[in-house]
């Protein structure tokens, strides 16, 4: 086993454990902290798989931006303790059985795949400059579409934020 492989399996164990803790935790703040650890681990794995720029973006956007946004909302809202769902365990067992059957069949299929899927991948490294040039040459239209999407989301969030106030003001004028 190469040092790369050791790193990969260690990171995989860390990521899965932190994610399981995040899902099982009843305290929302702890959940978010566990998920930050999980996303930082995923960023390390991106780096290991030869993607330094996406790794940096993962830390900045996911662990930095999105999780802090969640943290703000969790601290802003007073969330009642989650009640244990009263669904029967049989339903979960059925779902788990179907899910594991699908997963196991995927494992078998990947094992039987023709070609070199079982051979260890060669380590590679995509230089950020080359990566950026590639994205802006080949995918410039998609970048524009994504920026439009972000603009639409910005306007939507703004409307949702001021919608209440607008409604109240309109109600006053009518009455």
């Amino acid at each position: 086993m190469t040092p790369y492989a050791v790193c990969f399996y260690l990171l995989a164990v860390v990521i899965i454990m932190t994610t399981v803790m995040a899902i099982a935790c009843r305290n929302m703040v702890h959940t978010i902290l566990y998920l930050v650890a999980s996303f930082v681990g995923t960023a390390m794995m991106f780096y290991l798989l030869g993607a330094p720029l996406p790794a940096a973006l993962e830390v900045i956007i996911y662990a930095g931006g999105i999780m802090v946004l969640f943290l703000f909302i969790v601290m802003m809202l007073k969330i009642a303790d989650e009640k244990r769902s009263g669904q029967r365990a049989g339903r979960f067992a059925l779902a788990g059985m179907f899910g594991s059957i699908a997963y196991l069949s995927a494992c078998v299929l990947l094992h039987l795949l023709p070609g070199d899927a079982g051979v260890a991948m060669k380590a590679a490294f995509a230089e950020p400059a080359r990566y950026g040039a590639f994205v802006f040459h080949r995918h410039w239209l998609s970048i524009e579409v994504i920026s439009l999407l972000l603009l639409v989301v910005l306007i939507g969030a703004l409307l949702l934020g001021i919608g209440d106030r607008l409604n109240r003001r309109n109600g006053k004028e009518e009455s």
């Binding site: 899965i16 798989l49 993607a51 969330i79």
Partner: protein, 104 residues
Amino acid sequence: MIVPYYHVLLFAGILFGLGVICTLTRRNLIMILLGLEIMLNAGALAFIASGLDAGQIEGQAVVIFVLAVAAAEVSLGLALITTIYRQTGTTDPRCIESDTCELE
């Protein structure tokens, strides 16, 4: 040499499954959004692994779009959740439209 391609795929599958479990079993809108985040993250990991396996940079290019979609989804979702909370005083998806949670 790192690891075989399908080991990364299986790992991404496990992560995706954890996201599905989080989304389906928790009764809290914020946790449902977090589950979606975990799923998107697993998808991004699979894209990067496939890019490395094929020796193409294309796989990594998709990750930027996944990140942007995740950011958009989260900001709009959280705005919706705060609006819902302000109007109904709860983040439990069962209690928003009906009184079933008060009967329990």
